[in-house]
Each structure stands twice: as structure tokens, then as C-alpha cells.
Assembly symmetry: C2
Homo-oligomer: 229 residues x 2
Amino acid sequence: MVQKYQLEDKVLLAVDCIIFGFDEEDLKILLIKRNFEPEKGKWSLMGGFLKRHENLNMAANRILYQLTGIEQIYMEQLYAFSEVDRDPAERTISVAYYALINIKEHDKTLSDKHSAKWHSVTELPDLIFDHPEMIIKAMKRLRRRVSSKPIGFELLPEKFTMRQLQKLYESILGEKLDKRNFINKINALDILIKLEEKDMNSSRKGSFLYQFDAEKYQQKVEEGFSFKL
Amino acid sequence: MVQKYQLEDKVLLAVDCIIFGFDEEDLKILLIKRNFEPEKGKWSLMGGFLKRHENLNMAANRILYQLTGIEQIYMEQLYAFSEVDRDPAERTISVAYYALINIKEHDKTLSDKHSAKWHSVTELPDLIFDHPEMIIKAMKRLRRRVSSKPIGFELLPEKFTMRQLQKLYESILGEKLDKRNFINKINALDILIKLEEKDMNSSRKGSFLYQFDAEKYQQKVEEGFSFKL
DNA sequence: CCCTTAAGTGTTAATTATACATTTCCAAAT
DNA sequence: ATTTGGAAATGTATAATTAACACTTAAGGG
């Protein structure tokens, strides 16, 4: 038997998830109304505690599943928040994760059960603890990532239009982009499949639908290609 | 009194530090010989446990001070490592930090006390646990950061030559850079002070010494400038 | 005073990024 | 059948940035 680290302080380790979704125009975050103390009734990120048999990724997956019913969610560890008094109830360190989901495809009975609601990142409600700080950090990380990895597609339905993709990038980056330059760049990357099919909702003419070609992307990466937008 | 989170599992929270230094030619990491079980006698990153009254940054600072005697060290939180069996002695989550120091200016009596040695990143010894993974992640982070923030100077003495700076970037980025282009870029940033003084060690002619102008940099940042190399 | 060695220095070509306006297509209304 | 409205689709010219490249200078040591 190996000797243990006697006498060292132990702490509660929480995982909080910044869940991003995209709805036509706006980047949104899924927030829950806390139904337990402290700060019961306030808005909060979905969270939970790390269990003995789990690593942090597993905990984050479990927590994301609880709220969305989705099993394979794109997520990334963000940062460990550790101010001594960040949670007034008890010393708790929280490791924040951000996740990207298709806003149309989560289980609404589950999110309703947690009184969860989507909030536009531009008008967030009052949040508990250091959750605003977590969200700011998540936004920054997402902004950087989305320019160097093809993760934006996680926020869109499988088939999407160029305009949707552009709107997505605009709302993440917080700036207007030139339509032609955007399309030229995307096409130059050569990682989308243009479908025959059109989306007829946005205009009479309709606009072509595209799909992300994950295999082609993978192959290009192995050949030294790197996504850059 | 607020209610506590009963029944949740608590864990030990460690902090491990990847301490980078730069010695003429090579990017190096300061490693210690572990003088306690488990894995006593093997190489390891300097680490310690989070204490009740500390946040993670404070713990990292404390640990860095213990080994180097330096109080204001540039450091950044890297990632939380949480595999269930990462430490065979006991369930421990470790939050890794990386730090940049001037290799010439740490307290050698302290590092000797921990049997610490500098190892070139290109020839690292066997390390305990998941420390190799931590180092890989730190290298990647450092590579990205060094191109977008003027943190490389943390690894150099206050006065340095252009050649030293270039060698530093080359060893961090792992690629040769063109001398003229490098100097042109650096000069275009306009954040260095060229001194009258020359360093006569490297050549007969001697090479001019430079200093990072932190104030000027700050001012430029406030005016919207962003470092890019 | 000649040799050695690293320091210092600019220009051109290639690539990449930006700015920008017109035509096409389709359905709905007449 | 024809017109009309509204978003989709499309390419080029210019500017800005990045990459490639070789000779001269300075100073100490022999």
C-alpha cells in the first residue's frame, strides 16, 4: 500500500458548463434557475460536483447530458476558478467547461425540468457567484477557437446555408463580415460539401445548403493543412 | 448560516508548475528529484497542495517561490488534470501552471535543496504520473502565447541582444527564423529600447543590447495595438 | 595589417487581405 | 402572363503583409 498524503486540505470540486447555442441571429447561452440554496431562484450555469469515480471530462459530460440529453457534445475545459469565497456555502473550486450544441436538438423536457432558458450573450441576466467571469472567459476562448478550428459547425444543424454560417461567425466575433470575402475564404478552405438541396425559408430564390466534410477536413489536417478564418 | 453541500466527494487539489528558463541556446524546464513517496527519486515537476486559505494562483506563487525564491513570477494557469488514477497514492486533481523565469536569477540554494535541475525540453528525463502530458500542453500554450503576447522577455535578462531574442523564439517555436525578417518585425513593433551598451561576449564586433519597454507597450495596447509575431 | 567571426542592414517578389456593385433567381401579387 | 421585391450569387482590382535573399561592417586576435 502506498502512503497517502496525510493532513492536506481537501476541497469540493465542481464543474460548471457554459453551453452555447445559435439561433438564427444570436449566440446564446443555456442558463438554469437554481432550485437549491444558496442563491436559490437566481440564474446560473449548469453545474455539478466531481464524483470519486470520474475525471473532469466525464463529470462535464454527465452534467451536459443531464440538461440536454445529448451524449456526444463538443466541449473543452476552460479554466479552474478558485477564489476562496467564490461560493458562500462552502469552499468549492469550479472547473468551467464550455460546450457547443445545435440549439434545435436538445431534449426540452430535460431543460424544462431545470427551468433552463436560452439567453442571448448580449443580454445576460444576473448570475450567481463568478459565473459572469466564466462566461466572459468562455466567449474569449470561443472567439479564438472558432478562427483556428472548425468548431463553429457544432452550433449549426447538419445542413446550413452560407448566410447562417456567416451570421454565426459574426455573432461570435462580434463584428460584421463582408459577404463575398467570407464565402471566398470558406470556399478556399475546401472543407464543405455543397448540396443540391436549397433552403427556401430565407428567400424566394432559396439558398444552397452545405455540410461540413469532417473526413476531408481530417485528411487535410494530416497533410499539414490548418484551418484559419 | 448557509446550508452546505452534504455528501459530495471531496478531493485533494494539487498544483504542478512547469518552470521554463532559457539558457543561450535551449529552452529548459526546471525539474526536481522527488524526495517522498510515491515515485521517490524520480523526476517530477515542482508541486504542492492547495491550502484552505489560498486560491490557485496563490498556491502556484507559493510553490514557485519555494523553489526559486522569486516573488513576482510570470505564470499562467494551464489545465486541470484529473484522471482517476493519475496519482497512485490517492485521488488527486492537479491544476498545472506554467511559469517563465530568467534562468540566471533564481536562488540556487533553494533549487539545490529540492535537487532541482534544468533539463532541455528536447531531452527530458522520465517523469512521474502525467507530468509529460502537462509539459506537452505547456509547450503548446507557450508557443501560442509567445506569438501574441510579449512574454518571451520574461525568459531573458533585462538587457538582451537581438540574437538572443531570436534564438529564444526559435527554440520556443521549434523552427529557424530569418535574421533580417525577425529584426524588421521586432523593430516594427517599436516596443524595445536600444541601448548604447554592447554585449561583447558573442563576437569581436559586439552586439547592441535592448530592453523591453513595458510602459510603452502598455500605452500602445491601450491605443488598440496588439502584439503579433 | 590581415584574418576571422558575428553583427547589421533593404529591396523585391509573392501572397494574402480588403474593398466593393451588379446580376440572377424565384415566388407572390397583379 | 407579367411585373416586382428581396435575398442569393458572383469576381476583380488594390492595398497590405509576408517571405526570400547577400553583402558590408566592425573589432579583436594573431
